[in-house]
């Protein structure tokens, strides 16, 4: 006769299954999210087809929706934010790992990490009330007066110099993702073994050479991952952008032109959408954002993981 199972074994089994169920909940949530976006956005996708992605007419009155404006706005602001933020984040990380006097290292490093946690709505408010007036006065107006007629600069700087627009939004985004990227890069650079760095110095390399040819290549994959994680944040950011991008659905024509991103459009219009088609179009926009960020974040995570596996 078999010995009956002890009661504890049943509890153990149940516990394992409950844990596994909780983990599966993550899969269910993400899958359900995708399905609900597809279902909710289907009327718009079905009606406008591929044109939803390529036309720039967004008109709730005539019920014609084309998302090219917000999509381009999202990609342009995120790309510009990355271009602005990347060299600065790199400089901060290099400064903290190679140049900073030891007593300052921890305080500055901690400050950067703390700032990465400030809610994005604070960045948005600062952008609208503090940054925009200064930007209009000291950057937009001088650049617009300096631009020669019919030059490329003139084309890039047309618009209303009220401090908001594509470039302003990009700068605010850049400031917002800066602490995050700097902190991640710094953490990566700290994983470089001291022996590797010291031998480079021992061979007579200058600081610039050590960073550029030894430590940065050492963490290359992870660094690209960190940058893409920053890009993912910039793509999906809502509040910091909504305040300052100007919120128009036109195709943005210049750096100072007002525009919109996918996230800002959804945030502004979703609760005011009056017709089912308007709601569907906004959900379809969300689906586009989901696909873009999922690809970017997925690649970023794979790269970061390979780096961690190597270290």
């Amino acid at each position: 006769m078999r010995r009956p199972r002890p009661r504890g074994a049943l509890v153990a089994l149940v516990f394992e299954w409950v844990c596994c169920g909780a983990a599966t909940l993550l899969l269910v949530a993400l899958g359900w999210l995708l399905v609900s976006l597809v279902v909710g956005g289907w009327p718009a996708l079905h009606k406008f087809g591929f044109g939803f992605l390529t036309t720039a007419t967004w008109n709730p009155v005539t019920e014609v929706y084309g998302a090219a404006g917000p999509i381009v706005g999202t990609l342009v602001t995120a790309a510009l934010a990355l271009i602005i933020s990347l060299p600065i984040a790199g400089g901060v990380a290099f400064f903290l790992t190679e140049l900073c006097p030891a007593p300052l290292r921890r305080p500055i490093g901690t400050a950067v990490e703390l700032l990465a946690g400030i809610p994005s709505i604070v960045y948005g408010m600062w952008g609208l009330f503090v940054f925009a007036p200064l930007f209009s006065q000291y950057v937009q107006l001088p650049m617009m007066t300096a631009a020669a007629p019919d030059s490329l600069l003139e084309k890039l700087t047309t618009g209303i110099p009220n401090g908001s627009g594509i470039l302003s939004a990009s700068i605010i985004l850049a400031i917002m993702i800066l602490p995050f990227m700097a902190a991640t890069l710094r953490e990566l650079l700290l994983t470089v073994p001291a022996a590797v760095r010291e031998s480079a110095y021992g061979l007579g390399a200058t600081t610039a050479e050590v960073v550029m040819s030894v430590t940065l290549p050492y963490v290359r994959t992870g660094a690209i991952g960190a940058v893409m994680l920053g890009l993912g944040r910039a793509l999906g950011e809502t509040m910091a952008v909504t305040f300052i991008i100007g919120n128009s659905h036109r195709f943005p024509k210049s750096l100072f032109d007002s525009g919109s991103t996918i996230a800002s459009t959804i945030a502004n219009e979703f609760t005011e959408a009056s017709t089912p088609m308007h709601t569907a179009a906004l959900v379809a926009l969300g689906l586009v954002l989901f696909v873009i960020t999922f690809i970017v974040l997925g690649l970023a995570r794979l790269m970061l993981r390979n780096q961690v596996a190597k270290a």
């Binding site: 983990a23 359900w32 709505i121 600062w126 009330f129 610039a208 996230a263 979703f270 609760t271």
Partner: protein, 283 residues
């Protein structure tokens, strides 16, 4: 010889330029971030007074505060943390102790990493589709679910990391005494990791307490004091958003005061989390 000195000079010059660049951009970054904190402090302090904590959001021009929004935010965050801690702790435990090395575990970990930085507005859309549209009413409950979805990945990640750091001998000692693994996890591993788990929970709380986008169309807003989470619920982030974009000076002052409150809370919670983590490392 002349060639090599010229080359050395060039290398040194590059190095100096590089160092200057690093110092300048660090200074720039710190100045920009200090400027943000400075305007937050100067503009927020002016609006902070007793009314902010005792009165509900006013009509423009009349006396009022943010009491309903503060209470609504706390209620939703607490409810969200209860849900997120339950799911996150169990899921993280499963990844660390049971299925983390299987292919399925790899998939779950990857999805968790993606959710960790997924755009929060999409979570808002999702919760709208499943909890608001079917019931034809915005609700604080929906807001709490949206916040929980943002907190879970943080907790899963820290739980897994922390449990993997616990010594293997702890598990072996427990199992050798005849305890089932589940008992060892609950009574030994969770307990020895409790302060690190607390750090993770605090970081998750800091993350959700300032989130605005997912609340815009789940909790919506409410002008009145209410603790009934089945209806639209006032909350700080959405009130700040609406008031900041309004044309009234007194509303904007309240928005800055609210922003200062939120940022202050987030910073304080993060600092406490770091102190807890340091204590853990020391002991």
């Amino acid at each position: 010889m002349t060639i090599s000195t010229a080359r050395l000079a060039r290398r040194r010059a590059t190095d100096v330029v590089f160092k200057i660049f690093c110092v300048v951009v660090t200074a720039l970054a710190l100045i920009a971030l200090a400027a943000i904190l400075w305007s937050l402090l100067t503009k927020g302090i002016g609006g902070l007074n007793l009314d902010v904590f005792t009165r509900s959001t006013p009509a423009p021009g009349s006396r009022g505060g943010l009491a309903n929004a503060i209470v609504g935010s706390i209620a939703m965050c607490v409810l969200a943390m209860v849900m997120a801690l339950t799911v996150g702790l169990l899921a993280g435990t499963w990844l660390a102790e049971y299925g983390g090395r299987s292919a399925y575990g790899g998939v779950i970990r990857f999805l968790n990493d993606v959710l960790l930085s997924a755009p929060s507005i999409l979570v808002g859309l999702f919760v709208y589709e499943i909890l608001v549209a079917p019931f034809h009413s915005f609700s604080g409950l929906a807001g709490a679910v949206a916040l929980a979805m943002l907190a879970v990945p943080v907790i899963v990640r820290t739980t897994e990391d922390v449990l993997l750091l616990q010594a293997a001998t702890l598990r072996e000692a427990g199992v050798a005494l005849g305890a089932p693994l589940s008992f060892v996890i609950r009574t030994i591993l969770w307990r020895s990791a409790q302060s690190s788990l607390l750090t993770g929970a605090l970081l998750a709380f800091a993350r959700i307490s300032g989130e605005t986008a997912p609340l815009l169309f789940t909790a919506l807003n409410n002008q009145f004091f209410s603790l009934d989470l089945r209806h639209p619920t006032a909350n700080l982030p959405v009130v700040i958003f609406n008031f900041a974009l309004s044309a009234y000076d007194d509303w904007r002052r309240l928005a800055w005061a609210g922003a200062l409150l939120i940022a202050g809370t987030v910073l304080a919670v993060t600092v406490v989390a770091r102190i807890v983590a340091q204590e853990q490392r020391r002991s």
